[in-house]
């Protein structure tokens, strides 16, 4: 379990506030942009960060994040850069950072070695979209030792017993996937999962954040009524496509501002 992550969630919950989390692919758009982007997101009021470790075959990701991952790999991104990014961010910010990676890069790096490094450089947790609940034993023996939370994904088609199993295994929050599919669907209508969100409100003992396909202030307004927070990924990645290197700080702030304040 990670204290900082828990405190951030608890603080927000205590005042009935909504959690805003942003996903960024490490090493994208340019190899060295990531620490600055994270620091700007922190200043703009984002509650925590999902830092995506690029992988060539990201099964849960749609075209936008696939492309960003490929660009980052082409930029020469290596797993060790993840720890350099953490090191740089931690000199100025304690914003919780969850590392998002597919299983194979971590498996290949060595699971305990990776978790140890993540801990040393100040990561707060992990999201591994292709790690089934049944295989969490690969990670759970090390989580307390390295003060990390493992976050599980809960899909809208999960049967009841699955929902409870995921809730039981969770230690901080549950990541609710808004629709069956890959990240970044543009026309996902959140109204379809309303009944599911209402069920979750009643049956989950942990807070839950919704992710996948969320891209507008409107979406956020909707989810803020039914969930504890949202995670935004593809919309931000796509926005960064058009941003030049020197504009990144300003543009990052503008992006968050547009999401969090009602359209004029």
């Amino acid at each position: 379990m990670n204290k900082t992550l828990h405190e951030v969630i608890a603080r927000k919950k205590a005042v009935g506030d909504f959690l805003l989390s942003l996903y960024i692919t490490a090493g994208y758009p340019h190899l060295k942009d990531t620490p600055q982007i994270i620091l700007e997101l922190d200043k703009a009021g984002v509650d925590f960060i999902e830092l995506g470790i690029p992988f060539s075959d990201p099964l849960a990701d749609g075209p936008v994040i696939q492309k960003a991952s490929q660009i980052a790999l082409n930029n020469g991104f290596r797993i060790s850069h993840t720890f350099e990014i953490l090191k740089e961010v931690r000199q100025q910010s304690s914003i919780p950072i969850l590392l998002m990676s597919y299983l194979n890069p971590i498996y290949h790096y060595g699971i305990e070695t990776f978790l140890n490094q993540a801990h040393i450089w100040g990561a707060n947790g992990l999201i591994i979209p292709d790690l089934p609940l049944e295989e969490r034993g690969l990670f759970t023996p090390f989580l307390d030792k390295y003060a990390l939370d493992l976050i599980y994904l809960l899909p809208p088609n999960a049967p009841d017993e699955r929902l409870h199993a995921i809730d039981d295994a969770s230690t901080s929050f549950v990541y609710v996937v808004a629709y069956a599919g890959v990240t970044g669907r543009e026309n996902s209508d959140p109204i379809h999962i309303l009944p599911f969100l209402q069920t979750l409100k009643k049956s989950l003992t942990h807070p839950f954040l919704v992710g996948f396909g969320i891209h507008s202030h409107q979406d956020i307004a909707f989810y803020s009524r039914y969930a504890d927070g949202v995670i935004i990924g593809s919309a931000f990645i796509k926005y960064l496509e058009k941003v030049t290197e020197k504009n990144i700080p300003k543009k990052t702030r503008e992006f968050v501002h547009a999401l969090t304040s009602p359209p004029a």
Binding site: F55, S56, D57, L59, A60, G62, P63, Q66, Q70, L73, R78, I79, Y102, L103, N104, P105, I106, Y107, H108, Y109, P129, D130, L131, P132, L133, E134, E135, Y152, L153, L154, P155, P156, N157, A158, P159, R162, V177, A180, G181, V182, R185
Partner: protein, 403 residues
């Protein structure tokens, strides 16, 4: 003897430490449904009867075993036999699991089957089964493969399938698998993903193996009838590993039968010039399962290559990884040139043009036969015919063979 192999995989889909179901959780529910539906039809007489009927009256099973006497004589050693999967309808072993998968999809009330294809053989077989059983069919294929294998693209289209070009990543088989998974994730309730080999998350490696196991079942009986014995060696090429598992499965308990899986060493054993996943790979997780895999030091799959498009995949079916570790099957390599030699040799001395994939198995048999006594028997799974390859082979290699 109680069977130590026939119980694999376990209920979680593991063959030893390999296999499993490493997928985004959105897919867990449907994979569980497929597993349950499959468990039901596995013991359902009416399903098996329907499948047997199609095997026999539609696909042309059983496929014969042929004693390649001239080839054996020319090698000057062991006797070479061919299990003629090339004679099946659509020209390869792939029809065996496609008929099974589409029948199952139909029973589950699915509307559409989808799949990836490399050389196009699995795509053609699936499009065929889908046409027969009145299902929609979408095939994902790297645009580089589409160009190389355009007759198969045309075939799929004639059969009513939609061929969707994949332009991501390496634009070949690995990325076609990614694209098919992406489509599957978006609509797992109406779609059935009919994966093309003994790969992917549980239950696919088990299910495709079982549907392919007809090959070994027939061969075991036919061979004994022909020779009064079991074969001494089994030889099959290994891409994902479906034709090899299909043949090997019936013989796993026969300790005296030695088995060889042949991987492509392409141009060389240098990175990017081969697809010898078992020979040079390390355990890893990709496309929903754990197995030997060719990967860089960061865990990203490596580029692969083989003259045979059906063999160039950077991983391999999990049961093969298990069989390698316990040393039940030996995995060896054959390079492009050896496969091309075998392609022409079999064509010219036996009048059988093999698929380039199958030519790898033939080439290995030609290598070992001379080192063995005349009484030793080798049974090759001749997994497909070479019609799809002729243009490419003649253009690229013809002049060295008088063409």
């Amino acid at each position: 003897m109680s069977s130590s192999f026939s119980r694999l995989p376990d209920t979680q889909g593991y063959f030893g430490e390999y296999g499993g179901r490493y997928v985004p959780p959105q897919l867990e529910k449907v994979l569980q449904e497929i597993t349950e539906a499959y468990e039901k039809i596995r013991n359902d007489e009416s399903f098996q009867k329907e499948l047997d009927y199609l095997y026999k009256q539609y696909a042309g099973r059983p496929s014969p075993i042929f004693h390649a006497k001239t080839l054996s004589e020319r090698c000057g050693g062991a006797q070479i036999y061919l299990k003629r999967e090339d004679l099946n309808h659509t020209g390869a072993h792939k029809i065996n699991h496609c008929l099974g998968e589409v029948l199952l999809a139909k029973r589950m009330g699915k509307k559409k089957v989808i799949a990836e294809t490399g050389a196009g053989q699995h795509g053609v077989a699936l499009a065929t089964a889908a046409a027969l059983l009145n299902m929609e069919c979408d095939i994902y294929m790297g645009d580089i493969d589409m160009e190389k294998e355009h007759p198969n693209v045309t075939r799929m289209r004639i059969l009513g399938a939609k061929v969707i070009p994949v332009v991501r990543g390496t634009r070949t088989l690995k990325d076609a698998v990614d694209a098919a998974f992406e489509a599957y994730l978006a609509d797992p309730e109406t779609i059935f993903y009919a994966i093309g080999s003994v790969v992917g998350p549980h239950p696919f490696p088990m299910m495709v193996r079982d549907f392919q196991s007809i090959v070994g079942k027939e061969a075991r009986e036919q061979f004994q009838e022909m020779t009064g014995k079991l074969p001494d060696y089994l030889i099959a090429c290994v891409g994902g590993g479906s034709n090899a598992m299909g043949l090997f499965n019936a013989f796993l308990e026969d300790k005296e039968v030695r088995m060889y899986g042949v991987e492509p060493s392409g141009l060389s054993l240098n990175e990017g010039e081969h697809a010898a996943s078992l020979t040079l790979g390390k355990p890893g997780v990709m496309h929903g399962f754990k197995s030997y895999m060719l990967q860089d030091e960061e865990g990203n799959p490596l580029r692969v290559y083989s003259v045979a498009s059906g063999l160039d995949y950077p991983s391999v079916g999990p049961q093969h990884s298990f069989l390698k570790d316990i040393k039940r099957v030996e995995y060896v390599t054959v390079n492009d040139q050896e496969a091309i030699d075998a392609f022409f040799e079999l064509s010219r001395v036996e009048g059988i043009i093999p698929a380039l994939e199958s030519a790898h198995a033939v080439a290995y048999a030609m290598k070992v036969a001379p080192t063995l006594p005349k009484t030793t028997t080798l049974l090759i799974n001749l997994s497909g015919r070479g019609d799809k390859d002729i243009e490419f082979v003649v253009n690229k290699y013809g002049k060295n063979y008088g063409l």
